[in-house]
Amino acid sequence: MNMQEKNISANNFEQCIKCTVCTVYCPVVPVNPLYPGPKQAGPDGERLRLKKGIFFDDTLKYCLNCKRCEVACPSGVRIGDIIQAARIKYNTKPPKLRDMMLASTDLMGSVATKVAPAVNMTLGLKPVKSVMDGLLGIDKHRDFPKYSSRTFEKWYRKNVKTFQDSFNHHVSFFHGCYANYNYPQLGKDLVSVMNALGYGVHLLDKEKCCGVALISNGMTDKARKNAAANLESIRKSVNERQMPVIGTSSTCSFTLRDEYPHLLGIGNDDVRDYIELATRFIYRLADEGKVRFVFKKDYKARIAYHTPCHMEKLGWGIFSAELLRMIPGVELTVLDSNCCGIAGTYGFKKENYQVSQAIGKPLFEQIAKLRPDFVACDCETCKWQIEMSTDYAVKNPISVLAEALDLVATSEANK
């Protein structure tokens, strides 16, 4: 009897009762018949794989790692984790050149930002897109995110670093590759908002790519190295400087908190509670009455909020949505819970393009019907996908806050 109680396997595998609810909510199953579905790819297949690794099925690569199966599971089985862990454990094929390029966001970023105008122009050219499509298998329909010629970190050091110590409260900012290499404005917005709320913003000693794309592209060793380096810096921030770590990307935050222990086997229990999204951090301050917002009187916007899959899994969409609702001139609609289809690097791959767009279709249609002023969303790859597939711009909730707040008056109010 005691054995039954203590026999708890990784990812709650043995809790699966084969109810098939996960399959109902998998975004891939309706559009890609090659994918066996989360129940088969996850717990059912795991029974076989535990017996013999040769039962590993290459079609597990069609899993988006969106974790919607886990959100739906009534029994708490970490189905997505079982699938990704199987890919890590049993897939012996080395990653393709294309996958290595797509996955190495910080390497590619640090090279590309040095010659950003040339890279942006080149990547936008039709012949180049055709070549990448033909040779590499990066779908030609995709627009690459533009690279910035100056990274967020450089801007930070040059412009705002000097006065961050002057605030009474402090946080560290995990900016992620996107804010650093592609869209430093998001990082600048975060600094403006936090400064106005009375918080100094600091960089981690060393920040590496969170590793989400490395994990999904089979570069686990590199992902583990990044994880170890990031956790070392995060521990310094949390333990030595008493600075919690906030981010603006839902997927980076999710990876640091949950994928490190679940998929890479790297423990973070001691600091996990101090890693979170900026919107959750700010919501808590507002909820506890510790900060005051002064909004611009004339700010008006009809916003459609899209909850990214990893945000659904974190259960934190509510914090971003509630923050946006606090802005008096905002009319907010929370879009139906649908995957946009891109899933990081997944949608960039030629073999996934059609599936990716088919998955996103209900979301794109809802946005088109709603005709908002813009879409708000905490994930950069959802942003690329929605901007490419609809006529609407996508803004991070932190950027919306930066726009809507009277920053000077808010600073005064929080002094």
């Binding site: 109902v24 066996p36 739906a72 599971c73 919501y283 808590r284 259960g315 929370v334 819970s337």
Partner: protein
């Protein structure tokens, strides 16, 4: 984060309670650890099909007096149960769930294996039978979708033939389904429904069925139509042109999932907040013995505060109740439970016999208030399948208990005087 009422559990009971409160102007949140048992719905809600002594029930309302005093219906009182049972069809209708049936006379539903079970309210996909013996027709054409394993045509034919219906079994072959068949393990009701719901596909299916019809007066189909749009089954029946009977499939249940989606949408449209995939971890109490707040995995240190809390967390399957070899407990509040001492008294070694553990659960003196160490918690309500006192599987009473206790708790919360009765 502050709400008027926080409900733990997003199944039938929790959602109905939430919708009723939210529509009355209360700000509500529902925390749900994964999807609920509505996904396995038979297509009907039962009220009372059999008394504990085995007597079959024709009129559930009249039979209420034959129940034990600790049955949720008895605790709530006959007057309330009758009132809510009569209001329920209209209330469900107002939540976007279309049903037929009445509380004073059981109808009969056909199970996936061809059995007949008493039903109270039946989703509009299905036509409940007037009596247990009623024939579905003179001659029936039982149509399955080629490759679909969760619809047992042979069992159905056997059971219909026992009633004197002549049956013929055929398979529907659509090229649109061939893609699904590449993956036999995922040839499931919802995946079929998604394809069938596409423009032109169910019409094609109907056309094929018409051509296969010989002299049959009835067509029997699995309930795999209308995942999003509940009007598809009716339209299909009309197109086929003869009486079309849909029979519930093995899970997942397409009409059930549509019902769940509609209820959640109704709750959110009214302004409610639905937190899916989150688990409640603990509760804090005020000095005067009320619940002050609950914590969840996803909310972490941000607590959910409310004036009232409703525990609709279900039974063992959904972890509303946890059984260890020694004891059974409720994991959030550790409220008082009724259950037999000694594990040997929990179950019968014969799987098919009545199992005691199904009747274990939360003790509620008035049917809807929880208690801890014998003390009633004034602002903590307990509803649905977590309640003790009824062997819902044996009695056929789970649906009724979920719906009626949800309505009763919502009204008790809305009615301050009733609340005051329990305040110290």
């Amino acid at each position: 984060m502050k709400f008027d009422t926080v409900i733990i559990g997003g199944g039938l009971s929790g959602l109905l309670c939430g919708i009723r409160l939210q529509k009355a102007g209360k700000k509500c949140a529902i925390v749900s650890a994964g999807q609920s048992a509505i996904h396995f719905s038979s297509g009907s809600f039962d009220l009372l099909g059999r008394l504990p002594d085995g007597t079959a029930v024709e009129n559930p309302l009249e039979a209420l007096s034959g129940l034990n005093p600790d049955h949720p219906y008895s605790l709530l009182g006959k007057e309330k149960v009758c009132r809510y049972a009569e209001q329920a069809p209209l209330f469900l209708e107002s939540c976007g769930v279309h049903v037929s049936g009445e509380a004073s006379r059981n109808s009969w539903r056909i199970t996936p294996t061809g059995e007949r079970k008493p039903a109270w309210l039946t989703l509009s996909d299905f036509t409940p039978l007037e009596s247990k013996e009623q024939r579905i027709g003179e001659k029936a054409l039982i149509v399955n979708i080629l490759g679909y394993l969760d619809f047992n045509t042979k069992f159905l034919a056997d059971s219909f033939e026992r009633q004197g219906t002549k049956c013929r079994i055929v398979s529907l072959k659509l090229e649109e389904m061939e893609r699904l068949r590449k993956n036999p393990s995922e040839m499931r009701s919802t995946n079929i429904a998604r394809v069938m719901d596409r423009d032109g596909v169910w019409e094609k299916a109907a056309e094929q069925i018409r051509q296969m019809l010989e002299d049959e007066d009835t067509v029997v189909l699995p309930a795999v139509f209308g995942l999003k749009d509940g009007s598809v089954p009716q339209s299909l029946g009309k197109y086929i042109g003869v009486k079309t009977v849909f029979v519930a499939t093995m899970p997942p249940s397409v009409p059930g999932i549509r019902t769940q989606m509609n209820l959640r949408a109704e709750f959110e449209k009214a302004g409610g907040r639905f937190f899916l995939g989150d688990t409640v971890t603990d509760a804090k109490f005020t000095a005067d013995g009320n619940v002050e707040s609950i914590g969840t995995v996803n909310f972490g240190d941000i607590r959910l505060y409310a004036d009232n809390f409703v525990l609709a967390s279900g039974s063992f399957f959904s972890k509303g109740l946890i059984a260890t070899p020694e004891r059974i407990y409720e994991p959030v509040f550790n409220i008082d439970l009724d259950y037999a001492q000694g594990r040997d008294n929990w179950f019968d070694g014969n799987f098919w016999n009545r199992q005691n553990y199904i009747s274990f659960g939360a003790s509620a003196k008035d049917g809807i208030h929880a208690s801890i160490n014998g003390e009633t918690i004034p602002n903590l309500y307990v509803i649905g399948s977590i309640l003790s006192g009824s062997n819902t599987l044996y009695e056929g009473s789970g649906g009724g208990i979920a719906v009626i206790t949800a309505m009763a708790a919502a009204d008790a919360i809305l009615d301050g005087t009733e609340h005051a009765e329990y305040a110290k």
